[in-house]
């Protein structure tokens, strides 16, 4: 292998270790791209980026890795910020801080290569050291790693702008926004603080539109239904009786009534609020939407000017009692349950060892089209301690884990 090809292969390995997914064909493209674009630093950087980075959210990581690998001869700028970056990057990738050692001065190519290989290896080791954590997340490796930096997402985006090794006139406003919203989409609700919640609300604006479109597409089955014989014959008279144009009878639109129950206790409350807002944005896809929130009792919820309003007001310090909530729902069944109703419940099913009343849930499921349970809790913890989720899960059509925004969107799409 030529040294350059070798170096590209190692570079790709380092990017993979940093969490960017790169296929073999893409690394071949990268080699061809460098071959075509030449070795001038800036154009080589862009060539590699065009071939390897398919997601703007990954660009910052790419730029850092590139700076480590192909150091600029004397442009102190990128190198000056470099140790800091690397430390952050690694702490982000591994979830704990570790100061990055910086090769001093301009290392010889060979040394540099070994160093970066070592860096890649140690990053990999660190990742392997933490199987428990990874399993707990049980999301694809890429998603998990990208999710982690979200905690420092704000600094991160600022950093990203610096890291972009480009002319002074460029700011990358939108790029930073993309990276931020991507990170927050993958941050587990369990790790939310108010800061993440605010960021998630920002991201939700985009997500809402996407969700509405996706849901609409799912609900709208084939536009055309059965053949409309009368109209087909009429159209055929224009063509001398040949049935050239088939006319279809439009289908009756599916009408779904949605009844939502969202647990607003403890850490589940972030997920609940985000879900209610997401569904509120897609309201027009449903015939009727009734939203409720609960802790130990049921309260009708509504969005007024972007804020969640409940009536009657809930006692936020109460202890969860879903059995009682089911009872209250059952009492109101005439208004909120029907053959076209899908009931969506968001909660962790932790009932403080009070009566679960799963029998009521079975009755409710029997009286509506379907019950779907979205659970923001980690599946590893389902059914532990005071969780009654296993009793409930038996009675519902689907029981889905929704640990972050992405999963929440996916879970909600499952109702259609």
């Amino acid at each position: 292998m030529t040294p350059l090809r070798d170096q590209i292969v190692n570079f790709v390995a380092a990017l993979r270790a940093a969490g960017i997914r790169i296929s073999v064909s893409e690394s071949i493209d990268a080699a061809r791209a460098v071959g075509a674009a030449g070795l001038e630093r800036a154009s080589m950087c862009e060539a590699l980026a065009a071939a390897l980075v398919k997601d703007e959210g990954d660009r910052a990581v790419f730029d850092q890795t590139f700076a480590q690998f192909f150091s600029a001869p004397a442009s102190g700028n990128a190198r000056g910020q470099h140790p800091d970056h690397r430390g952050r990057l690694e702490s982000a990738a591994s979830g704990r801080g570790r100061p990055g050692e910086e090769p001093s001065g301009v290392a010889k190519p060979r040394e540099r290569r070994q160093e970066s290989r070592a860096a890649a290896k140690s990053a990999q080791q660190e990742r392997e050291e933490r199987p428990a954590d990874r399993q707990a997340r049980r999301t694809p490796a890429k998603a998990g790693e990208r999710g982690a930096p979200a905690a420092q997402s704000d600094e991160h985006s600022g950093e990203m702008r610096q890291a972009e090794n480009r002319g002074p006139e460029e700011h990358g406003i939108e790029a930073g926004r993309v990276a931020r919203s991507r990170a927050i989409e993958r941050t587990p609700f369990a790790a939310y603080t108010d800061l993440e919640f605010v960021q998630a609300r920002d991201t939700l604006a985009i997500l809402k539109r996407r969700f509405r479109v996706r849901l609409g597409r799912r609900l709208r089955i084939a536009k055309a239904g059965r053949i409309d014989f009368r109209r087909t014959i009429r159209a055929a008279t224009q063509r001398g009786g040949a049935l050239a144009d088939l006319r279809f009878r439009a289908r009756r639109p599916r009408r779904i009534d949605l009844t939502i129950l969202a647990d607003v206790s403890g850490s589940v409350r972030y997920a609940a609020e985000l879900m209610l807002e997401l569904v509120a944005g897609a309201r027009e896809n449903f015939h009727r939407v009734r939203s409720f929130v609960y802790i130990d009792r049921l309260a009708e919820a509504d969005f007024e000017g972007g804020h969640l309003v409940t009536a009657p007001a809930l006692d936020l310090y109460a202890r969860s009692d879903f059995g009682r909530v089911l009872g209250e729902l059952w009492d109101r069944r005439a208004q909120v349950l029907g053959r076209q109703t899908i009931v969506v419940i968001l909660g962790d099913g932790r009932n403080n060892r009070r009566p679960a009343r799963a029998d009521l849930l079975r009755e409710i499921a029997r009286n509506c089209r379907a019950v779907v349970w979205l659970n923001p809790e980690d599946p590893a913890r389902w059914g532990t301690g005071d969780s009654a989720i296993e009793k409930y899960a038996r009675e519902v059509r689907a029981h889905v884990a929704v640990r972050d925004l992405r999963e929440l969107e996916r879970g909600l799409l499952a109702i259609a």
């Binding site: 997914r21 296929s23 064909s25 893409e26 493209d29 061809r32 791209a33 075509a36 674009a37 030449g38 800036a42 154009s43 862009e46 060539a47 980026a49 065009a50 071939a51 980075v53 398919k54 997601d55 703007e56 660009r59 480009r166 002319g167 002074p168 006139e169 460029e170 700011h171 990358g172 406003i173 939108e174 790029a175 993309v178 920002d202 604006a205 539109r209 996407r210 479109v213 996706r214 597409r217 536009k223 063509r239 001398g240 040949a242 050239a244």
Partner: protein, 290 residues
């Protein structure tokens, strides 16, 4: 004609497309490696424009496929001209033509309605194929595009496989209405175009709104850049900036003070909330003159 980086940089400049190294390199590679180029970025950053510029640069025809929800192969690739086939059948009925001859006849290219994708593949000369807003199309359609993008060939059951004589230059654009599949991303080179920085935008304004006073253009660019940094529902795009500058020109604005900002703000911002937000900060955002 040989494709070099200078040729691309030169071509972009000649087409009045103000750009940077990133765009140049990506466009150059797409041409040099014959790979599709996937362009992402906010609305109004000039994604579609790149395809047009490439077409102008190569003096090639631009074939455009606008994607939308529910777009299917019949609309994108080809369709048999059913009515024409029927007419042919009826016309031939009287003459007692044998079925073998007939079927050969009515399933020939003459009865095929070419849609953009087939047109791009069967074109005798190299064309630029723009698949616009691929994120609006359904996932199934995206999967169908994969064969096309990797081999530039299409199979029509009655005619066999049609292969491109000249590989078209393919440009895909996406607004991220949904996440594109990994498979599609893998097959493309990727380019992210962001909204321009102050200096770049000033150049664009100077180029596209030539009548505007230079100092005012610089102030406008700085103002728009500051506006974009506010958390807005829809940050102004380049097209909106240009419209706004044209409005300033027509209004005879000499100085970008709070009054001037308030007057024409509707051209720049299309949401009432955004407008209120910027108006409330107009004094702070207005450039200070000595």
């Amino acid at each position: 004609m040989e494709i070099t980086q200078e040729f691309v940089a030169d071509g972009l400049a000649r087409a009045h497309y103000i750009t940077n190294q990133r765009v140049e390199t990506a466009v150059f590679l797409a041409l040099a490696l014959d790979k599709p180029l996937l362009i992402e970025g906010p609305a109004g950053a000039g994604k579609t424009e790149i395809a047009k510029v490439i077409a102008a640069m190569l003096a090639a025809e631009l074939v455009r496929l606008q994607c939308y929800e529910g777009l299917d192969e019949a609309r994108a690739l080809y369709e048999w001209n059913y009515q024409k086939q029927l007419l042919r059948l009826q016309a031939d009925q009287a003459q007692g033509v044998r079925w073998e001859d007939l079927s050969e006849h009515i399933f020939s290219r003459e009865y095929l309605l070419e849609r953009p994708l087939l047109k791009a593949i069967t074109a005798p000369r190299r064309v630029v194929l723009l698949i616009d807003e691929i994120d609006k199309a359904d996932e199934e359609f995206e999967a169908f595009l994969l064969e096309l993008l990797s081999d530039f060939q299409v199979s029509v059951p009655e005619l066999g496989t049609l292969r491109a004589h000249e590989l078209p230059v393919v440009v895909l654009t996406s607004n991220r209405a949904r996440e594109l599949s990994e498979a599609l991303r893998r097959r493309c080179l990727h380019l992210f175009i962001d909204l321009p920085g102050i200096e770049q935008e000033r150049k664009i304004i100077a180029l596209k709104v030539p009548g505007l006073d230079e100092r005012l253009a610089a102030e406008a660019a700085r103002f728009v850049s500051a506006v974009r940094k506010l958390e807005l529902r829809k940050p102004p795009s380049i097209a909106e900036t240009l419209d706004w500058c044209r409005a300033l020109l027509r209004l005879g604005t000499r100085e970008l003070d709070t009054v001037a900002i308030r007057t024409a703000l509707g051209v720049l911002l299309k949401h009432e909330d955004d407008r209120a937000k910027v108006e409330s900060k107009a004094a702070a955002l207005a450039p200070r003159r000595p």
